[in-house]
Symmetry: none
Subunit: 365 residues, 2 copies
DNA sequence: TCGTCTTGTGAATCAGTAC
DNA sequence: AGTACTGATTCACAAGACG
């Protein structure tokens, strides 16, 4: 049994690349300490000579059907172990992103569900410039799949709805993202001028993931760090990162890359906020503060009326209660937002009561 | 052990809808007799409370008895059995298509692999008009996933490369297909005027599948026939179909539908054509893609300035919001085209941001 | 007949806080 | 832990009404 430590008991190795095997390193880190995990796991294990069956017997050939099955079993074992280690590291309200192609993503998704992660969306990264299918034997493989899942069904995951909506020019962000693959000067090269990593992900992809599902200061872990795209974007966006990478050559490229990255200034990191994040103002406060008088009549867009009482409730011919309850009752609706439903009269004008709430909120800032 | 018959020994029930349980019926049909299977199995959505739109209308959810499973294990057993029965029916060079959403597709894909099917592509159906996410708690679930797999790795599957290329206006068909959901006159209604089936698939989707992966005269089986989209398109395209459906009401609708279908009806072909329009490019994409940095200052012709934020909004001394909103606020105008209003600095030059949009659009063509 | 406006609806794992 | 209450939240089309 692994001895675990409580979050604060051990210092997290922030903004570093840890050398070693992902599973072992994750097991050594303190549990419930990470806000988000982004993982681009290998799907070609390239371990054919070292492939082991679940019972640890060695697989010596991979060209018959039996071994095809056993290689799936080996991949599933690997997936099960790193996902379990990842889950342990997540805070209760943490979340994970994994990315894969049809070779491995179905096994990833099934195992996420088996372990009790709660899938929030699957996201399609639609590549605007994919490699064509040269032989014309299949469709051009023009996308990869990401899965976004919270630690548990009950997790209150981070989702910056308004920020993603802003990124999409005011329209709700969809589950299909059109982004180019990583090319040009963003693509890191080794000393020979060859690409440093076979599957370097574009920074634009991580930008959208981190803006959408983390807050500044959050801890983001990438257990298959590669050349460090996750770390680079996290650093730019003012998030803390932890990278784990086994290959020294990738670590070297990533270290060099990260040293050059600068954080954006903090006003640029402020993001459009949801109304939910605004402080709650009880309707009764408008009455207490004399913005509305007891006995004053409120009116809805469609002409329904109700009278304000001294305790901040409303009374109409048919119902009494909160602004929401009376609105819902008058409309025969399951619910109603009283703040947007009701209006009052001032100097011949019809004014939404939400204006008064805005006034109180602005005084609070 | 099921006693099996050789292909020719038993007459196939062609161009009929067979009443009964998919698994039992498939087991009763002769092995190695079908060229293609298209399957739209229950998704196991696991919905809980009612969902209302912001206008308080209720979303008509898929809450049918046939979509309820007690656990993932129960769903997996069901999947394993129907896939095994399907595989037995396929000719050696046959193939299968399955469709699902993130609720079930990972389990489908993993079980396909476990049974030795060979995945050829996963295909994303990007819906041009999906239902939005009403609560703003996740991304709009705007796609479904299809998996195309041959019976075995060695199968010489059918792929009509040139036909699909022609459907795509001369460009190699990709693994992401933009098609509208099934609405309007195509959507079948019951005697009350309600939708006859909760999840009717568009004919355009089946048109592309059958044109691309079958030949005229091929036998196409759909074990979850529903209202018979697969049969209708197969008939139009001169393929033979076999439908299996448990629910009498769906069978009745499908029979009526199929009676009206004529071979080579061109309407399905028309709807499957992609609409040509200049693609919308959100300003945020320039930021995600690193063409503009968060914190960078944009400038207007008349010297107004604003700073770019990480979510693709602008912030100036007086206002924050989209490029259009901030432009309008600074000019005191009711509206403003931010694309022509704002410029950025590069190498001593002032460059309109629209240049960057043009660049993205040219990549998309 | 042809625009324009209004209404309806689609495979959906869709809330957070205070008591 | 369970209950009660507040109050936030939608995009693309198609069909029908209206002028």
């Amino acid at each position: 049994m692994v001895k675990t430590m409580k979050g604060a008991a051990m210092e997290l190795p922030l903004n570093q690349i840890i050398a070693g095997d992902s599973i072992e390193v994750m097991r050594s880190l303190p549990e419930a300490s990470v806000d988000l995990i982004f993982a681009d796991p290998p799907y070609n294990l390239q371990l054919k000579a070292d492939l082991h069956r679940p019972d640890n017997s060695r697989v010596d050939a991979v060209d018959d059907e039996w071994d095809q099955f056993s290689s799936f079993a080996a991949y599933d074992t690997f997936t099960r172990e790193w996902l379990a280690a990842a889950k342990r590291l997540l805070k209760p309200h943490g979340a994970i992103w994994v990315i894969g192609s049809y070779h491995n993503v179905f096994r990833l998704g099934a195992e996420l569900q088996n372990q009790g992660f709660w899938i929030l969306n699957d996201v399609v990264w639609r590549k605007s410039n994919p490699m064509p299918n040269f032989r014309g034997k299949r469709l051009t493989n023009a996308h990869e799949t990401l899965i976004w899942a919270s630690k548990e069904e009950a997790s209150k995951y981070t989702f910056n709805y308004e920020a993603l909506k802003a990124l999409n020019e005011g329209i709700q962000m969809r589950s299909d993202w059109v982004l180019p693959i990583c090319t040009g000067h963003e693509r890191l090269k080794d000393e020979n001028g060859d690409k440093a990593h076979p599957t370097q992900k574009p920074e634009s992809l991580l930008h959208r993931v981190l803006v959408g599902t983390t807050n500044p200061g959050d801890v983001v872990l990438d257990p298959f760090f590669g050349t460090g795209t996750t770390g680079a974007v996290a650093k730019m966006l003012g998030r803390e990162f932890i990278g784990i990478e086994r290959e020294a050559s990738y670590r070297a490229v990533a270290e060099k890359r990260l040293a050059k990255v600068r954080k954006y200034d903090s006003t640029a990191l402020e993001v459009s906020r949801a109304k939910r994040a605004e402080p709650r103002v009880p309707f009764g406060q408008l009455v207490e503060r004399g913005m509305l008088r007891p006995g004053e009549v409120l009116v809805s867009q469609n002409g329904k009326t109700a009278k304000v009482r001294a305790d901040g409730t409303l009374i109409s011919a048919e119902a009494s209660g909160s602004i929401h309850q009376v609105g819902a009752a008058l409309e025969g609706a399951p619910s109603c937002n009283g703040w947007t439903y009701w209006n009052f009269h001032r100097e011949g004008q019809v004014v939404p009561i939400d204006v008064l709430r805005q006034q109180i909120r602005s005084e609070m800032r």
